[in-house]
Symmetry: C2
Subunit: 406 residues, 2 copies
């Protein structure tokens, strides 16, 4: 597989076999490109638990022929409901039913991250993507004619390298040497079989995605896998982080952060795994995602806080947009990669920057206290339940790259 | 005038000849009581500038036959408008026109404090109140049969003493030894002849009461005296107060506090007097306003921050309510003062406590920054302009003492 003579092993190397990497590989291979995915781990799998797929992502999945399987292994929630974590009052909700599906042309689906990854792996295999595990990329060198990917002492030669190596992207460093920005918030998760839970631990509204908003904390619960699994996420601001301590966000802080929450939230905390946790970070938007023949995508390009549940959705939008750009610049079986990458970044950067920025603000709104909580609650209470204008920009079809003419 | 033998010089002594004291004196004298007002200063006058009379107060003024004169020397504003001080955007407004007047049975009027005081002085003279200046009350002693008011070495004997001696009430001390609570905010005021202002300094909407809301600051402007006077109030949070310094709220801090405000607010600052200022304080509600035959009223009983513009209005409500209570407990020409005072406090304490508490919250809402400002602005923007439900409790007729049957 070495290309010491300058010959090409594969047209595209995708570094990272997470959701963004596999989606990119699938989309480019579907576009006729030869794609190899290099994954550091020994298998394609995802830690974590539930994942929300909004219509801006499920429209893409439908186009890729994956939506039926995704819906089949997931849940189509009835509503996205926001409750005050302290009082228990329901403040507002977003109806995710048929009107929502018609408005955005695709449904809202929640599913297990592993289940989505499996659909993408199967899709990649179907379109001939080379999936290679145990491949820890140490460097990428590029030149006029392409790029060389170093995997230990192996070299893989490609026309273009897509870095889908996530929040802590190694390949991003040459474009942006700054580290991720720790938010000081940490997430605990849990995905437990509903059938094995004590009855009082099962929320009354398993059809809904329920978000309990508290000062400096929130709890999300929804069902996965046809209702068989209860997914729970608890997020809170760590006082130890605020004090600059190296160790922060432990289970003692979890309990303290939710001490003032109502009984329903307290019951929700019982459904968390307590032996691991996810500190939450993002980065500020950057303009440059391309360095020669190496390009960032997904979290490597635009890592975001999870308050809009858009990390995976934006990575899937990226993949579809990149494939569109490639389709529009291809000629005689080849691709004008330079033009395609420029077109991709110009299309995707403003939108993902907006999602990154809005996610931060949305998180602030979720976690306010005092008079700001009073204002937030009153604003939510007085919102019309059939008002979708605040999410049209996010869920609506606003792709600036026109559909392919094929 | 000394009553060393226990005889009574006057039935009621009102300590303090401000708006609350004069209103109380007028209302009690109209009810047939003999009333003497003891004012420390050498004349009945008011420092300060404009004053807002909401319908809960103007309904009382109408009942007292004073409304026509008040309207005649004042202005009936068209709207109460709220603008963002930074962006200049109009966020919402309260229509104060005919629909408002009909809803609450009386108009919204703004006028000069001195003009209102003159109407009350004239009213007091008409109903035989004794108005005594240069009378600095040093103590009140009460016994079974009444109270003795010490004015230097003079003694005035009365059946009951009403302490209307304001925020820094001396007579309140025996019921509440705690000092007023400094908010850390300070007000600058100005009341200037419109005809002498440079044209650019005259706001475009002199028919409105306009409130510019900024982070940690606000500016209010409206016209007084048939539109001849422009009234301006600028309020801001003093950083020096926050640092615990003895000297705080100076003109340098005024300019710095509004440095980020838009051009219209900047022009408004030019219409302030800069040689004096009003630090703003209130107190927490207390339950006990009565000590034997001495009772607190107005700011002495329930001093409040000015964010609801209700200080004078609540003092006028107090006066009307006390007169109602006296009217209901009177028999054979005398008054059961003990019952009347109890009835008064039970009626007034919960309402004024709510106004005190809400004024604090309203001030917080005015002064928010960051995401809370975003929420406040969006809540204001989405409010229906014909929605009065938030002020019904305040402006509506909810007097718990039934009207007199006479």
């Amino acid at each position: 597989v070495t290309g010491v003579d300058g010959s090409v092993d594969t047209e595209v190397v995708v570094v990272g076999g997470g959701i963004g990497g596999l989606a990119t590989a699938f989309a480019l291979a579907s576009e006729g490109r030869a794609v190899r995915v290099l994954e550091r781990a020994s298998e394609f799998t995802e830690v974590g638990a539930g994942l929300q797929m909004a219509p801006n992502a499920t429209r893409v999945l439908a186009r890729w022929g994956m939506l039926d399987r995704v819906v089949d292994v997931g849940v189509r929630p009835r509503r996205l409901a926001f409750l005050d974590a302290l009082s228990g009052e329901e403040l507002t909700s977003l109806d995710l039913g048929e009107g929502f599906r018609e408005r955005y042309g695709a449904p809202y689906v929640v599913l297990h991250r592993t289940d989505l990854l499996q659909v993408l792996v199967d899709g990649c295999r179907d379109v001939g993507v080379e999936l290679v595990t145990d491949s820890d990329v140490s460097a990428v060198h590029h030149d006029e004619g392409g790029a060389t990917v170093m995997v230990g002492d192996r070299r893989v030669r490609a026309e273009v390298v897509v870095a889908a190596d996530g929040l802590r992207s190694m390949l991003r460093e040459r474009l942006d040497p700054t580290p991720p920005v720790a938010s000081g918030y940490v997430a605990y998760r849990g995905a437990l079989a509903v059938s094995e839970l004590p009855p009082e631990q099962v929320p009354p509204d398993l059809d809904d995605v329920v978000v309990h908003l508290g000062p400096g904390c929130h709890l999300v619960q929804y069902a996965l896998r046809r209702g068989e699994i209860l997914n729970t996420v608890a997020v809170f601001e760590s006082p130890a982080f605020g004090r600059g301590e190296a160790e922060w966000g432990g289970p003692d802080e979890l309990d303290a952060a939710f001490a003032g929450a109502g009984p329903r939230v307290q019951r929700g905390l019982a459904s968390l795994w307590r032996d691991r946790r996810w500190p939450m970070s993002d980065r500020l938007p950057i303009d440059r995602w391309v360095d020669g023949r190496m390009m960032l995508t997904g979290d490597a390009a635009h890592p975001m806080l999870q308050y809009l549940a858009q990390g995976a959705c934006q990575a899937i939008e990226d993949a579809a947009c990149l494939a569109d750009a490639v389709g529009r610049t291809g000629a005689d079986g080849g691709v004008d990669w330079s033009t395609a990458l420029t077109m991709f970044v110009e299309s995707r950067q403003p939108r993902t920057a907006r999602v990154q920025t809005t996610a931060r603000t949305w998180g602030e709104i979720w976690h306010v206290d005092g008079v700001a909580r009073m204002l937030r609650n009153e604003l939510f209470r007085t919102r019309r339940l059939d008002d979708y204008t605040h999410v049209d920009w996010l869920y609506g079809d606003q792709s600036p790259i026109p559909p392919r003419t094929t």
